[in-house]
Symmetry: C2
Subunit: 438 residues, 2 copies
């Protein structure tokens, strides 16, 4: 029995390079929130199913200017940093962290503050078409559970990490775990509470092992977190070679690349998602490929803090796992549409180079440009695969995580591919008419 | 006598580096649409003026979350390309021009089509906070006059160029001026009709001499257009060293840089605005500085077609004239907010470089990053100065071209500079509550 049937035209990635258009299809969603079937207009029972849904008031009929897309999957977002999105991006990283970010994150000890911000953020993410988010919380267990409860209440699929940061040399006293033991105990408490909450609410709520990044953690803590990930079979998230500074920090402290440090401590698994990676070397990428660890590409944030462009095309060609992240608030916008656009632009800039004083031939890195279809894939199917979630695609067996978008009026004849391109380039928050999660 | 008085907080550039915040000021606008005075809350007659305006129903009172900014000045936009904004950006430039752009521009022979598109575009520009636009039309005089009439009717300050392109080697037969003579005669007709229309409508409607770019024009036409610019004392617009291809084309045809060709034909004046310029050399920039010719920086478009980043910081430091353009449809968005953001990001990417395989020290171009205040200046005061228009600033004697913007709810204490940054980073079309032109 269908719970709802949606009638309209949809776009969906079927692989990294191809987006299919299905015109005037029916999308049948069952009572578990899963897509049970998609029906083309030419199929025998198309009209029967359409009429039945109409008569039983379970039909969602799209308007002429509306299109259906899979909900987006944001693979990297710092939930507590939402109040400062778009602030202080003129500052150097150290000032940005110490004068803005750490003091802000420290405020989440106050649960009332956490409730206010997280409610607003989750509403914003859903309004922007994001139906699943892999999030950093703060070091505060209770505030992280507020984020989890509010995600469940609003229907956002939430993968939430309790941030661990205990290295006194790289963290401020006012915002730091007191010790390895305290950090790991609190983390275990968080994991168990999240798993209980997931059961209670019947929601996608997954605790994620979250060393902030190598610089902020002691060796013992990195090892302890890897052990917890294994014990509870959990996803892992962190930052990896995000900038020259981070990349070089690992070399100075360990004589190893950031990736090698993560590997050494057992933090690279097929459930790991590592953010940024702009400074990864070919050998680092090979390690990630071998470990089946995904990269969260954050193109807006990287343009401020990455010190280079992630070679997304190469990474896709090599078959590494990779998805897209907003990185609030290193990125200023929670919209994955804007990140999709920046991913394409940044890839073109990597291909062409930036300094016209250099000869055109050697200015950039050839064959680096990604297509809009590539970028859309990162924001949907590829992101879901990184999370081992059956979502990000409109097909039977996938979660019915969908966004219905109003296209701007067409002033000329548009092919289906033209319509897809315009949706990707012109959709703003106010164009997203409806969002379904399961 | 004030026509209206606006009460609220505004942001305005006072030079290339500084944006001032004026909290709770009155902006008095006279009956010619000029700002006659701004009054700080501490001034003696603040309350008197406020009460008088209130009693005579001429007070516009901003809400708590609203702010006033100068309207934006778009220095480069192809009006006829609006229907294809956001299309075909995955294609190489030649395909984009020949399969999309030229066939589309050719359609404006049909005045009904011109009316439909231009009405929609002008509405869109004003809704996005743009109050002045320097536009390319098409080769069709009547359609260009439709654009002018509709701009005047809607209140957009319009600088409009009839595109001239007569070089058979670089233009398609279906969209080309038949001869130099035909082009220049039609252009003169357009100039006179525009001047008549400006008088009739009492609007800012200025005809602009518009050789499409060097490749599309014969020598005779370039010379003839310069003569018309001088005869009628008109602004000039074109594209200049937009890409490696365009830069090299001039070298092949003339043995000169694009800038030198423009200079040689007399097309660089203090009323010229040249779009893109990503491949300009230091000597080209010195020539433009000497001639007081402005550059229209189009950061979104340049990331697709520019083959490098315009060194905006250097250009500002050297005192060249420069403003901001959307370059619809090389750029996908008519919003100068998006172009402001991309201008900052692209400048950071020029500073940092893009290819992490290069050493950090030599990857980019030091001291290239612009601030948000720089980018805002480009979109407002600097753009107005390029057009010799007294606008783009909130101060006595300036046109009252204003936008009132709704800020998103603040979730933490924000300084005035924080509020400015957030407005720049987060404003979308639906946040722009009201736009005034004069």
């Amino acid at each position: 029995m269908n719970d709802i049937v949606i009638h309209g035209t949809y776009f969906s990635s079927i692989n990294r390079d191809e987006v299919i258009t299905c015109e005037g299809y029916l999308i049948c969603v069952d009572q578990t929130g899963t897509i049970s079937r998609t029906i083309a207009p030419c199929e025998d029972d198309f009209n029967t199913v359409l009429q039945e849904a109409k008569q039983s008031d379970r039909l969602v009929e799209l308007k002429d200017n509306q299109y259906i897309l899979p909900g987006f999957i944001d693979l990297h977002i710092h939930a507590p940093q939402w109040p400062q999105a778009g602030l202080a991006l003129d500052l150097p990283l150290a000032d940005w962290l110490n004068h803005y970010t750490f003091p802000l994150e420290a405020k989440y000890q106050d649960l009332e503050y956490a409730k206010m911000v997280y409610k607003d953020l989750i509403h914003e993410l859903l309004s922007q078409g994001t139906t699943t988010a892999l999030m950093f919380g703060t070091i505060h267990t209770e505030a992280n559970l507020v984020l989890a409860r509010q995600s469940a209440a609003a229907g956002l699929r939430a993968y939430i990490g309790q941030v661990v940061m205990d290295n006194p040399e790289q963290t401020p006293e006012f915002y730091r775990n007191k010790s390895t033991q305290e950090a790991l105990e609190a983390n275990e408490e968080f994991i168990l509470a999240m798993q209980e909450l997931a059961k209670q609410t019947q929601s996608t709520l997954v605790p994620v092992i979250t060393p902030r990044f190598v610089p902020s953690c002691t060796d013992e803590t990195l090892a302890g977190l890897a052990k917890q990930a294994k014990q509870y079979d959990l996803p892992i998230q962190s930052h990896l070679s995000e900038s020259d500074w981070e990349h070089n920090y690992a070399i100075e402290r360990f004589g190893l690349h950031d990736t090698e440090v993560m590997e050494k401590f057992g933090l690279l698994t097929d459930k790991s998602v590592m953010a940024h990676g702009t400074q990864l070397t070919d050998s680092d990428l090979a390690t990630l490929h071998h470990k089946q660890t995904a990269i969260a590409h954050c193109p807006i944030s990287n343009s401020y803090f990455g010190n280079a462009v992630l070679p997304t095309k190469k990474i896709l060609r090599q078959g590494n796992k990779i998805g897209l992240g907003s990185d609030i608030s290193g990125g200023y916008s929670p919209s994955l549409y804007y990140n999709i656009r920046q991913a394409v632009k940044s890839s073109q800039m990597l291909e062409d180079g930036v300094d016209s004083a250099q000869p055109a031939q050697s200015r950039g890195v050839k064959s680096s440009r990604i297509t809009m279809a590539n970028a859309f894939y990162l924001a949907t199917l590829a992101g879901a695969e990184a999370l081992h979630l059956k979502a990000g695609k409109i097909a039977p067996g996938y979660q019915a995580d969908l966004q219905i978008v109003n296209a701007h009026p067409a002033l000329m004849n548009l092919s289906q591919d033209d319509i897809f391109q315009r949706l990707m380039y012109q959709t703003e928050r106010s164009d997203i008419a409806q969002v379904y999660v399961g």
